[in-house]
C-alpha cells in the first residue's frame, strides 16, 4: 500500500500495477450524524497518473466507462461515516445484473475525505472493480448493475462498459493510409500494428513509427511490403495494454495486390521511325467494303505491325494487321492475287486494345488473360520508396505476360507513346509495386 498527498488530499490505493492516485469525495448528508460519500477514479486506463475525483452523490447513477481488456478498472467506491466520531461503514455491494463480458470484484480502499470532515482520517471505501475478460472479436460493450447498501443508505448503480477497440474504417491503396478510430481512455497512447491476411499469403505485420492516442487518426502502410496476394482482412492492434485493443476490416472485395511487377513496354510502330527497305503490301479500307489497294510500306514497319497489331503509317493513317482482324473471313472473296492476311493491313480510325478502348499513351496497360484484371480496371503503381508512380488502366491483352517476370511477381506491358519502329526500341518502364483499384 502506498500513500501520497495531492491537492491536500491523501489517497491510499494499492491494486494492480497502478502506482498512486488521489481522491476527493462529495458527500451526501443522510442525517445529522450520518453522511455518505462516493468516490471514483477518472481516467482509469492510465498507468501513470490516475486522478480520483468526487462525484455528486445521486440516489442512482449511470456510469459509462471505457476499459482496457484484461485490466482491472475501478468503477465506484462508497463509504458512510459519522462526521463527529470520524468512523466509517463500508457497507456492501450486491450485484443485481451480472456483467456478461467480464468479472466484478469488490474491495476496501482507504481514502481521505476532501470535504473538510475528519481531516487526516482514512475511511474504508467499498469499491466495485471490473475486468473485461471476453476475447470475442467485435464485442465492445457490456453492462452490469449493482447496489451499494449501508446502515442508512442504498444506491443502485448501472455500469456501462466499452472495451477499448479499434475501428478500422478503411484502407486507401492510393495513398497507403489506414483510416482508424481508436476508442479508449483519453490518456493512453500506443503503437499500431497492422496485419493484412490473404490468399495465397499473409503479409508481414507492419508497426507504426510513433504512438497514437485515442481518436480518429490514420496509419501509413508501406505498400511495397505487401506481396502478391488477395488480402481479405486487415487487423490493427493498438498497443496500450498487454492485451492490445484490436479492430478488423474485411472489405467486400479483397485488396488485390499484384506485388512487384515488371512493366515492359510496347508501342504502336511508327513508320516514320523505321529504317530499311520497302515492300509491296495491301491496304484495306474496311472489313465491310473490303477494297484492297496496293501500298508501299517500310518492310520493317509492316513486320512490326504484324507483330504488335497496329501501327501508324506515313501515308495511310493508322493500320491494323490483317491478322489482328477478321480480314480472312470477312473479306474472303475479295483478296486480289498475291494478297494475304499477312501482307494486308486494315485502316482503322484509332488505336484500340483488346478491351475495345482507345489506347492512351502512358496510361494503358496490356495484361495476361486470366490475370484477374478486368478491362478498365485501374492499377496503382508505387515506387520502392512507397511514393506513388501513377495510375494506369487495363485496356489491352498481353498473351504471354503470365511469364517473364524478371525477378518480380508479375509482368504487365505498358503502352508507350514513344515514336519508335519497335517496342524493343522503347525499353522497359521499370519495376513497380502494383495493386488494383476499385
Amino acid at each position: 500500500m502506498r500513500s501520497t498527498r495531492l491537492a491536500g488530499v491523501v489517497l491510499s490505493v494499492s491494486f494492480l500495477c497502478f502506482s498512486a492516485a488521489s481522491a476527493s469525495a462529495n458527500c451526501l448528508s443522510l442525517s445529522a450524524e450520518r453522511k455518505a460519500c462516493a468516490a471514483f477514479l477518472q481516467n482509469p486506463g492510465s498507468q501513470t497518473a490516475r486522478t480520483a475525483r468526487a462525484r455528486t452523490v445521486r440516489p442512482q447513477g449511470l456510469w459509462s466507462q471505457t476499459v482496457l481488456p484484461e485490466i482491472e478498472t475501478w468503477m465506484l467506491g462508497w463509504v458512510e461515516y459519522n462526521p463527529a466520531s470520524c468512523t466509517g461503514d463500508s457497507g456492501n455491494w450486491a450485484v443485481t445484473t451480472p456483467a456478461v463480458r467480464g468479472t466484478t470484484r469488490t474491495g476496501i480502499e482507504m481514502l481521505e475525505l476532501d470535504n473538510g470532515d475528519c481531516v487526516g482520517v482514512l475511511f474504508p471505501f467499498n469499491v466495485m472493480f471490473y475486468t473485461w475478460t471476453d476475447a470475442t472479436d467485435g464485442v465492445t460493450s457490456d453492462l452490469f448493475r449493482a447496489t451499494w447498501s449501508s446502515l442508512s443508505h442504498s444506491s443502485a448503480e448501472t455500469f456501462q462498459l466499452t472495451k477499448a477497440h479499434v475501428n478500422v474504417r478503411g484502407f486507401d491503396l492510393t495513398n497507403g493510409l489506414v483510416d482508424l478510430e481508436l476508442v479508449g481512455p483519453s490518456d493512453v497512447v500506443g503503437a499500431l500494428k497492422a496485419t493484412f491476411s490473404g490468399s495465397p499469403v499473409d503479409a508481414v505485420p507492419q508497426v507504426s513509427q510513433g504512438v497514437y492516442p485515442a481518436g480518429v487518426t490514420s496509419m501509413l502502410i508501406d505498400r511495397t511490403a505487401l506481396r502478391r496476394s488477395d488480402y481479405n482482412s486487415l487487423r490493427v492492434n493498438w498497443s496500450v495494454s498487454p492485451t492490445p485493443p484490436t479492430g478488423r476490416l474485411e472489405p467486400v472485395q479483397p485488396w488485390q495486390v499484384l506485388g512487384q511487377v515488371r512493366y515492359s513496354q510496347y508501342n504502336v510502330p511508327d513508320e516514320s521511325a523505321c529504317t530499311g527497305g520497302t515492300g509491296d503490301y495491301y491496304v484495306v479500307d474496311s472489313l465491310t467494303a473490303c477494297n484492297f489497294a496496293p501500298a508501299v510500306l517500310s518492310a520493317r514497319f509492316a513486320r512490326q505491325v504484324n507483330l504488335n497489331g497496329t501501327g501508324v503509317s506515313a501515308s495511310h493513317g493508322t493500320l491494323k494487321s490483317g491478322a489482328a482482324t477478321r480480314l480472312g473471313s470477312a473479306c474472303a472473296g475479295s483478296f486480289p492475287p498475291g494478297a494475304t492476311v499477312d501482307n494486308s493491313f486494315v485502316q482503322v480510325p484509332d488505336v484500340r486494345g483488346s478491351c475495345n478502348a482507345v489506347l492512351v499513351p502512358d496510361v494503358s496497360l496490356a495484361v495476361a488473360r486470366g490475370a484477374g484484371i478486368a478491362c478498365g480496371r485501374r492499377l496503382q503503381l508505387v515506387q520502392t520508396s512507397n511514393a506513388n508512380f501513377g495510375v494506369r488502366a487495363r485496356h489491352d491483352l498481353c498473351p504471354a505476360c503470365s511469364r517473364d517476370f524478371g525477378g518480380t511477381e508479375g509482368h504487365i506491358d505498358h503502352f508507350s507513346g514513344a515514336t519508335a519502329c519497335s517496342s524493343n526500341a522503347v525499353g522497359d518502364l521499370g519495376n513497380y509495386w502494383s495493386a488494383q483499384l476499385r
Binding site: 507483330l307 494487321s321 489482328a324 499477312d342 511477381e409
Partner: protein, 335 residues
C-alpha cells in the same frame, strides 16, 4: 510400366523440371527449384526472361559439330562448325531479338527465339550444310520435340491490340519443306508468292474440327475461345504431346499421339474434360478462369499406363498439387 514425359525419372519435382526444360535449354537451371517450399522468387532466373541484351546465347553440339547463336551486326546469327567444313554463318531473322534454343534434326537446325516482351516466338529452320534459312514462322509457346523432328506451337496472332485471341494448337514438321508445312491452308486463300506466310503454318492439332482449323484466332468470343493453360509438353519419345486447354469454364487435358514420322499426318488427338481441375489451383482459384493464374512454367505431365498425372505448383511455388486423369477418360476428339 511407367513412361515419364520428357526426361523425368523420379517424382514430382522431376516432372515439373521436364516441362520446364522443354521450353529451352536456357531454362534448365530451374531444376533445383521444383521442390515444394521454395519461395516464389526462386523460380525466376535470368535465362527465362525476355532480355535481349543480357540473355545467354544458346547452342547445340553433337557428332563433332556445333551450332551457336552469336551476336552479329546488331542482330543474331547462327555460327555452324564441324563436319570438316569451314565455319558457316547464317543471319537469323531480324525479328528474333532473343534466342532461346538450338536443336538439330537430320540436316536441319531449329533455332527458337522471342520477338518481344509478350514472348511471341519465332522459329528459324536452318540448313546445317549451307547455313541457309530455309523457313521461318511465328507462334506462341513454341515447344521442340526431343528429337527436334517436330515443333509444337500456338498459332500466331499479333501480340497486342487484338480482341478475343484464341489458342490454336499446331505442329510443324522439321523434315518437310516450307510448302509441305503449309499444305493445310484453307481453299481459296492466297499462299502469297511474295510473302511466305509466317502465321498460317503447320498441321492443326486442336481444335480439330475441319471447320475450325483455320478459323480466325482473334475476335473470338470469350466463351468460345480456347486458351492455353500449360506448356506444350512432349513425351520423351516425341510421339505424344500433352497440354491443358480451357474453353469457357471447361478445362481439358489434350493428348496428341503420332504413330511415327511416316504417318505424321495421322495424329490421334484425345481429350478429357477435367471437372476437378480446380484442385490444382490455390484455394481461392475456384474457377477455370482463375486457374489461369497458374504460371505456365509450373506445370508438368507424367504418363503412366493407366493414367496421366498433371502436376502444378501453386501458391507461388509453396505447394505442389497433382491431378490424376485415368486414361479411360481420354476420348478421341471428333473431326
Amino acid at each position: 510400366m511407367t513412361q515419364h514425359w520428357q526426361r523425368s525419372t523420379h517424382g514430382i519435382a522431376s516432372v515439373v523440371l521436364a516441362t520446364i526444360a522443354a521450353l529451352g535449354s536456357c531454362m534448365t537451371t530451374l531444376a533445383v527449384q521444383a521442390a515444394p517450399g521454395i519461395p516464389v522468387v526462386a523460380l525466376r532466373t535470368s535465362g527465362g526472361l525476355f532480355d535481349p541484351e543480357a540473355a545467354a546465347l544458346p547452342s547445340w553440339e553433337g557428332d563433332g559439330e556445333s551450332a551457336s547463336v552469336v551476336r552479329r551486326d546488331g542482330g543474331l546469327a547462327l555460327h555452324i562448325e564441324g563436319g570438316g567444313r569451314p565455319g558457316l554463318r547464317a543471319a537469323l531473322p531480324e525479328e528474333m531479338l532473343q534466342a532461346t534454343g538450338v536443336f538439330r534434326s537430320g540436316q536441319k537446325l531449329v533455332v527458337t527465339g522471342w520477338m518481344n516482351g509478350a514472348l511471341a516466338g519465332v522459329v528459324a529452320i536452318v540448313d546445317a550444310r549451307t547455313a541457309q534459312i530455309v523457313d521461318r514462322f511465328w507462334g506462341y509457346a513454341v515447344s521442340v520435340s526431343p528429337d527436334a523432328a517436330a515443333v509444337a506451337f500456338v498459332r500466331f496472332h499479333p501480340s497486342y491490340l487484338v480482341t478475343g485471341s484464341e489458342s490454336q494448337y499446331r505442329v510443324y514438321r522439321t523434315a518437310r519443306s516450307p510448302a509441305e508445312n503449309r499444305l493445310d491452308l484453307p481453299a481459296g486463300w492466297a499462299t502469297g508468292e511474295r510473302h511466305v506466310p509466317l502465321r498460317d503454318v503447320g498441321q492443326a492439332l486442336y481444335p480439330l474440327k475441319r471447320d475450325e482449323r483455320w478459323r480466325d484466332n482473334v475476335e473470338v468470343p470469350d466463351a468460345l475461345a480456347h486458351q492455353r493453360l500449360s506448356p506444350l509438353s512432349w513425351s520423351a519419345d516425341g510421339r505424344r504431346l500433352a497440354f491443358l486447354d480451357r474453353q469457357g469454364e471447361s478445362v481439358s487435358v489434350v493428348v496428341a499421339e503420332w504413330a511415327g514420322e511416316s504417318t505424321a499426318d495421322r495424329v490421334s488427338v484425345k481429350a478429357a474434360v477435367l471437372a476437378d481441375y480446380s484442385t490444382l489451383c490455390t484455394d481461392r482459384m475456384t474457377t477455370a478462369a482463375n486457374c489461369a493464374h497458374l504460371p505456365a512454367e509450373a506445370m508438368g505431365f507424367e504418363w503412366r499406363t493407366d493414367a496421366l498425372t498433371v502436376t502444378a505448383m501453386t501458391g507461388g511455388g509453396s505447394a505442389t498439387r497433382s491431378l490424376r486423369v485415368p486414361q479411360t477418360l481420354l476420348r478421341p476428339v471428333a473431326e
